[in-house]
């Protein structure tokens, strides 16, 4: 094998590290995947040239590196399915478009059903997906076993597997590679990626945003997009309004490296497990959200204990797999478990937040519609339903209520 195989997955040149200019046509606050994706499409689709991404730490240092890299689009509601399916279609061509080996692997995502209620809701979702043009299948327990031989489907299990939905086009990608790919692509398109630049205030004059105060000096901006996930509330407070999100810890973990054993993504809402095996061989597994608000990027050990018990229900042979590292991300959750992408009460200031546990999979689509919104001042058809005003009318897109797995 090539001595630098893993390093060679990454490009020899990624990005410049420019000093911030005094003024940009548009500034994206937040150098996570959605922020970079927004900047990428601002240039690529809308021809903006003078843009910057400002990032308080290093790009990708938030949820981009604290997720389980699952990609799927099998959401129940039309609005969600459209948004995530658009994103999935972009993923399908993204590696080539970005000219980067992002290890996008469409190995299939199983969502298990463990009782009659799960089964009914799963079939509802499969039907809705199919009619929305999203690939979806219902598998009975035997078919689940055939697709993923290591799942325990014994009927005596405490939470027996009664079947599963399968989205064959779903899968995983290498999150680190996506950071590098997007950073490189943005840089190549002339976007200034400014790391180590924390926004300390947002300048609003007569109801319109004019610029940012940052740890690296003031930056004037024609338009500003806030794409800061769990820290969005701290930023919107600077601009004088609130968004209905709460920031919670969400823990995940990786195991040590093992020979391939798990060939697809397996998720279960009832027992709170989602797991896949990354290309290198480590099992990547997510836990439930800690209930409390937090910015500390850590959650309770009992959440991991519950998650492991749940994982062992489905995969008894994981008993001697070992947790190598755990981490906590800050997920920004809306009351309806759907994101907010669109206009704000402040002119020329746009917000993209509230992706909760579902952000990674939306990366290309989120940037695409956010860029459209910033460039045109109007939401794209795909993000129009995801407005900040929906909470007032009650026109929510309730993905908890719909019992779709929101990871």
């Amino acid at each position: 094998m090539d001595p630098n195989e893993h390093a060679l997955h990454n490009a020899p040149f990624l990005w410049r590290n420019p000093e911030p200019k005094s003024s940009y046509d548009a500034v994206i606050v937040g150098g996570g995947l959605h922020g970079l994706s927004t900047a990428y499409y601002l240039v690529k689709n809308h021809g903006l040239t003078n843009i910057a991404v400002v990032e308080r730490g290093w790009i990708g240092n938030g949820n981009a590196v604290r997720n389980t890299t699952i990609i799927r689009s099998n959401y129940l509601w039309d609005e969600s399915a459209a948004m995530y399916e658009h994103a999935l279609q972009l993923w399908e061509g993204w590696g080539e478009e970005l000219d980067y080996d992002i290890l996008f692997s469409q190995r299939g995502v199983l969502n298990l059903a463990h009782n009659l209620h799960d089964e009914r809701e799963s079939i509802r979702r499969v039907n809705a997906n199919r009619l929305n043009g999203v690939d979806a299948e219902w598998l009975d327990a035997e078919a689940v076993k055939e697709f993923c031989p290591i799942v325990d489907i014994s009927p005596e299990a405490r939470y027996p597997v009664m079947g599963a939905t399968l989205q064959r086009r779903g899968g995983i990608a290498r999150h680190d590679a996506v950071i590098f790919a997007l950073g490189r692509a943005c840089d190549a398109l002339g976007v200034d990626i400014i790391q180590g630049c924390e926004v300390t205030d947002i300048d609003v004059v007569d109801g319109r945003v004019t610029g940012l105060q940052t740890s690296r000096g003031p930056i004037a901006a024609g338009k500003v997009g806030l794409v800061a996930a769990g820290r969005t509330s701290l930023l919107t407070a600077m601009a004088g309004f609130a968004v209905p999100i709460q920031s919670h810890p969400l823990q995940a973990l990786v195991s040590e490296v093992y020979e391939q054993i798990l060939n697809c993504v397996v998720m279960s809402n009832a027992v709170h497990v989602y797991v896949s095996q990354a290309h290198k061989g480590e099992l990547v597994m997510g836990a439930g959200i800690d209930a409390f608000n937090s910015y500390a990027q850590r959650g309770g050990l009992h959440v991991i204990e519950e998650q492991m018990s749940a994982g062992m229900q489905l995969f008894p042979q994981f008993s001697r797999a070992r947790v190598l590292r755990t981490w906590g991300g800050i997920v920004d959750v809306c009351p309806d478990a759907s994101p907010i992408v669109g206009l704000t009460p402040v002119e020329n200031l746009y917000v993209n937040c509230g992706w909760g546990t579902g952000g990674f999979k939306a990366t290309p689509g989120s940037g695409y519609v956010m860029a459209h919104t910033i460039a045109t001042g109007e939401p794209h058809a795909l993000n129009r339903p995801f407005s900040l005003t929906r909470f007032e009318t009650g026109e929510l897109i309730d993905e908890h209520g719909a019992a779709a797995v929101a990871h």
């Binding site: 094998m1 893993h6 990454n10 199919r130 018990s309």
Partner: protein, 945 residues
Amino acid sequence: MKRLAGRGRINQDRTISFTWDGRAMSAHPGDTVASVLLANGIRVLGSSVLMNRPRGVVTDTMSDPNAFGQIGTGESSEPLMRLTQVEVYEGLTAMSRIHKGVLPTGTDTGRFEKRHAHCDVLVAGAGPAGLAAALAAAEAGARVLLVDEHPHLGGSLLGEDVVIDDRPAHLWVAEVEQRLRDNPAVTILTRTTVFNVGDQGAIALMQRVSEHLPEAKRRGRALRRMWQVRTHELVVATGATERPLVFPNNDRPGVMLAAGVRGYLHRYGLVPERAVVFTTNDDAYRTVLDLINAGVDVTRVVDVRPDPQGWLPRRARELGVEVRGGSVVMDTTAAADGALAGVVVAPLGGGETELITCDVLAVSGGWDPLFDLHHYLGGTARWDEQLLAFVQDNVVAGQRVTGAAAGIFGTTACRRDGHLIGLVAAEATGFGSATSGPAAPEAADVTEQAPADFVRVAAVDGDESHSFVDHHRDVTMAGIERALNSGITNVEHLKRYTLVGTGTEQGRTAKVNAGRLAADHFDLDFHMIGVSNARPPSQPVTFGSFAGRALGARFDPVRTTAIHSWHVAHGAVFEDVGQWKRPWFFPQGTEDMDAAVLRECAAVREGVGMMDASTLGKIDLRGKDVGVFLDRLYTGTMGTLKVGRARYGVMCKADGMVFDDGVVLRVAEDNFVATTTTGGAAGVLDWMEDFLQTEWPDLDVWLTSVTEQWATVAVVGPQVRTVMSTLAPELDVTQDSFKFMQVEDAVVAGMPARVARISFSGELAFEINVPTTSGLAMWEAVFAAGEPYGITPYGTEAMHVLRAEKGYFIVGQETDGTVTPLDLGLDWMIADKEFVGRRSLRRTDMLREDRKQLVGILPVDPNDRLPEGAQLIETAEYEIPVAMIGHVTSSYESAAMGRTFGLALVRGGRSRIGETIYAPLLDRTVAVELVDPIIFDAEGTRRDG
């Protein structure tokens, strides 16, 4: 390496055997797998994953990047076990698999336990600092938990030849251990690792309980135990780990860390044939002196520093060792098996090279304090220019770092610091006084000359692809340089680009060097670059240990009713509803589910059936304000309910969406019983308590869950009065005396019972409630009394069919958190008063005419039963994507109507009754007529029998 008789902390008088890759190995009690392999001449443990390079043991600690193997066989074998930690026992099997493991198949037979404990001071690490801290804190009166990963106390002292108070260190350790063991407030856990530090002193430990013993001696004990300890103070005394140096071919088996080499001597009596030492500091000379003392030929000391003049180098010279200052090892040569054969030594900066044969090259690039535990709660670190190491930068509340972990080197200094930290920690928890406690030890450690700030020897030919920074991930200097030329300016990006430091050993030998190389590259101060953050667990922990015994049935409790045994005996098939097991249907003979359900439904509609309704939630409400309280929570009015009557009610969350429903009984002026759905019981109680305590504490209401105190037998069907008369001759069940929604206390089958005329099927029905202890007896009595009339036990599926025929919705089936009472056609239940969630029903989206509304559906083909979850569209022909206007929530075959039917939520459904819409399925499209949800007995004539 070879074994010296009489040396090491092993019992050389006894020999035990185990197998390595099927080969028998001879070992002594006290050996680890790693020490035995070295003793048996096995230098190459395996090949690295990416570059297929031969790799061997590097050191004697958990920092070793190569010493991994698969231990055990079959379903309980474990991959990637630390061979430097695994103690050998008779019959052990180990296999070479160094960087990538294989998960066994099957179900683990090992047992993993959990335990919780409390203490005042938890000391992590029982080296000189930790022992001193534990002793000081304990003797000040604190409850102390002392934890160490080794089988014995002593920490680094186990691998050193040190004198304390004019006697060998192990005597000092033994004395401290005795004083600790004599103190009842002290608990000592060996073979135990602190792997996580959480908020408010939540410390997690992993203890190896019996895995080091032969199978026969485990005697059913757990293999490991996870401890969760709540401590006031944590003392981090986890020592330090040695850094390697980067030079071409520095990964050959035989290139070891200097402290590891002397560790193998002192712990296992193992020495090289011929050693060379390559160092940047004085500490490596301890290895030189100890090897000389053991009679080993230390051919050369290669010291980067131009003029090593500390006490230790001088002593080495006095003993005749050739110390070459200002020199480096610039390459190594390999024997046939790929292990080390010799080293190429040259002056730093170039000059004449010399090839020296040796089987071990002991390397020291300095020491890194190990204080991962400090990082887990946001602790930070700074680079210390004097120590050339990271040390803690801030103080984390409730934690103190001491000894080598705090950058304090030297046994006496560690003991002194540990002692003081122990006193301070005890004082912080209310014991003793740090200023007036016993005095700290006074003595000086050997003064050492400053180490060289040196990381790597560049390859002469510029090919850096065999100079390893990270053995575990096969990251070379070439890989690091490639990353640093890409625009990366940050160690986290460096880690993700190269994978440096991400190995199973947490990159302990790699991370600091990678950061220093990055700093060199950018010509920055190291503190501006730093190292990637340590994340828990400090050592990998098995999934099975986290799960503990919460497996199988213990994963989640199963709840069963008082009547469960009867259901089992009568062949019920069960459905999981929340934690409850409920009979789904009772097949007879060869019946399939459909046949059973049709029979059960027919029996209820035509004769009499019985159902176990015990799982419904029941909340007892008492107090003078219960009526007011319930009026504020239910959409309808409850306060006007008369004693002895019941009323159906629906509750919304504040957002106006239906949350739960059930019948409320008023059993006395100040006593109501609210029933809830089976799955919603706990949530409704929470909801009620929340409002009662936080919004309306002035109300006189007392809430008690009585779900498990009552068993409920529903007796249903046209013949039910006959059965009831037999069961309760004293009770007048005629229509005039026992009306619908009436509640009576009565004696039924000789048992006191609460009887209510409640119907969820549209049939005449009585629910008999008795204390749970009488539940089975009542069920059997009802069954016996009904037998002459063919009484038929039925399950949840028949119950669902019967209620759907009547258009009754089920929370969670017809509702999904997006459905209001208005959507369900419950306008008549919205009383003219304020209740929780009412305001939400006025929001613009709630007033839209095209909201999804509950309707009945009749497939045009009466034999076609739709799957529940089918979507509904406007037209028979369609192309994907197609707009969906609703979905099927319930779908059944009706015995009473002799056809299929269902319920659905459809946009503007109520105004579309009579229209035909379509359910597109994979194999067909089904036309369905929209009808009123009440499909059967719309006039309600059956309710009164």
